[in-house]
């Protein structure tokens, strides 16, 4: 084991190197991240024995990644923002063809207006594709989630692609200490990919990406839904096994001081680091506040959330917006959980810093709400 200071991009690339995908197709130009640059270096230096394909677009990047996966090998790609949107069509195909791809998405806003900064709208767009979506809080968790990601995605009860969502700039461009385990330890945890559900092999011919007429399509979608729901227990099992082996345990959600909380702040990704500090500050001032981090957004862990929230008021902070609805996390919790009072806070869009003052405003509104549920925080002018 070694410990280095690195960005989350570098952490993802280091994890990919240890996960040993055999094919890495990436579109290497904007909005690509340095993940692809590090991987190119690893391949050029002989540190990663993979076919590195520089494709002509993200649509092709996901197509080539899907093709590689269906040829029976482990495959990886990375993207961000508009790149993910350009992949959109094949993102859905990858889930439908049950390809256990792992992809890193550096969360960034989408156009228009043109904006290259952080929010989570890009991956929220893909939430219904049938992928598992994991939102990480730190570079270390980004590293760990890639390693766990393949083990989850390739589980015979899952066989769905998995997206590791890491906040652009906040995680991808800042450095922090990251533990990198020994190659042999990762090899023990993550054996080579050996598919038998969908792969090209002349000895056992099969047709992939087939047509399913009305007599079959519903069943195919039902199976995907079941696999995604079943993946919840696999995420927990793999997270526990990872914890035993590497000392960091992961689940579907993470809670902080929720046991006696009157108000629970709910969010995803790096924002939760800020919220943890704010919870401590609020408690010093006598407000019983807790924090609930949704780590697995798909599958959506509504049962686990239900167990935590009790009668607490919920303030759900979303770095995305479903126009006319509020934040997506708010909408899902409202739809699937037994909530008492719940408020949606849309904030941090297009890279707007989420300051302690904003969180104080969130708390104030949750304590004394106006006659509505959805609030945009930090708006300038008369809104």
């Amino acid at each position: 084991m070694r410990k280095d200071i690195m960005t989350a991009n570098r952490a993802v690339a280091e994890a990919v190197k240890l996960a040993k995908p055999q094919v890495v197709p990436v579109y290497p130009i904007t909005p690509q991240t340095t993940i692809s640059e590090y991987l190119a270096q690893f391949v050029a230096d002989g540190d990663l024995d993979a076919e590195y394909i520089r494709v002509e677009s993200e649509h092709s990047a996901m197509s080539a990644t899907l093709g590689a996966s269906q040829a029976g090998v482990r495959a990886f790609t990375a993207t961000s923002s508009q790149g993910l949107l350009y992949m959109h069509e094949v993102v859905y195909a990858a889930a439908g063809m049950r390809a256990p791809i792992v992809m890193a998405d550096a969360n960034r806003a989408i156009s228009s207006p043109l904006n290259i900064w952080n929010d989570q709208q890009d991956s929220i767009v893909e939430r219904d594709a049938g992928w598992i979506q994991i939102y990480v809080e730190s570079a270390q968790e980004a590293f760990d989630s890639i390693i766990m990601g393949y083990k989850i995605a390739e589980n015979e009860n899952v066989l769905l692609p998995l997206m590791v969502c890491l906040d652009g700039f906040i995680l991808t461009h800042t450095v922090e200490p990251v533990e990198i385990p020994e190659e042999s330890e990762v090899d023990e945890f993550l054996p080579p990919y050996a598919p038998d559900h969908a792969f090209l092999d002349p000895a056992t011919p099969m047709s992939l990406g087939t047509l399913a007429d009305p007599a079959y399509y519903t069943e195919a979608r039902f199976d995907m839904n079941k696999a995604l729901m079943d993946s919840a227990s696999v995420i927990e099992e793999v997270g526990a096994e990872f914890g035993e082996k590497f000392g960091r345990k992961y689940g579907l959600i993470e809670t902080y001081k929720c046991e006696d909380a009157d108000i629970i702040l709910v969010a995803m990704g790096s924002l939760c680091g800020t919220l943890r500090a704010m919870v401590d500050q609020f408690r010093e001032n006598g407000d019983k506040v807790g924090m609930l981090r949704v780590r697995s957004y798909r599958p959506f862990p509504y049962e686990e959330i239900n167990e935590v929230i009790g009668d607490a008021k919920l303030a759900v902070l979303d770095k995305n917006v479903l126009f006319g609805i509020g934040g997506s996390l708010y909408a899902d919790i409202k739809a699937k959980c037994d909530t008492n009072e719940i408020y949606s806070f849309v904030l941090g869009l297009g890279g707007r810093d989420i300051t302690p003052e904003y969180i104080e405003e969130v708390l104030e509104i949750t304590k004394n709400p106006q006659d509505k549920e959805v609030y945009w925080i930090g708006l300038k002018g008369d809104a």
């Binding site: 439908g96 063809m97 049950r98 066989l159 056992t204 099969m206 047709s207 087939t210 069943e219 199976d223």
Partner: protein, 80 residues
Amino acid sequence: MVSIGCVIKDPGSTRNNKTGSWRTFKPILDKDKCVDCDNCILFCPEGCVDKEHDIDYDYCKGCGICKVECPVKAIEMIRE
């Protein structure tokens, strides 16, 4: 239920889907007029015309290309 990812592991099983039911017009060959040019065999997109110029109605979709390509107008399209 379907297989995972809707893969098909039985080669050639597409023959199970008899596409002849899609047909609105049926090609009928008058073999007395036929000059054995084999255009219908070559142009049929479904490979439904055999060497004896017999048409496989289990799979012929009735596209009518054979009729168009027949130089002696030996094929007629009859409504099903």
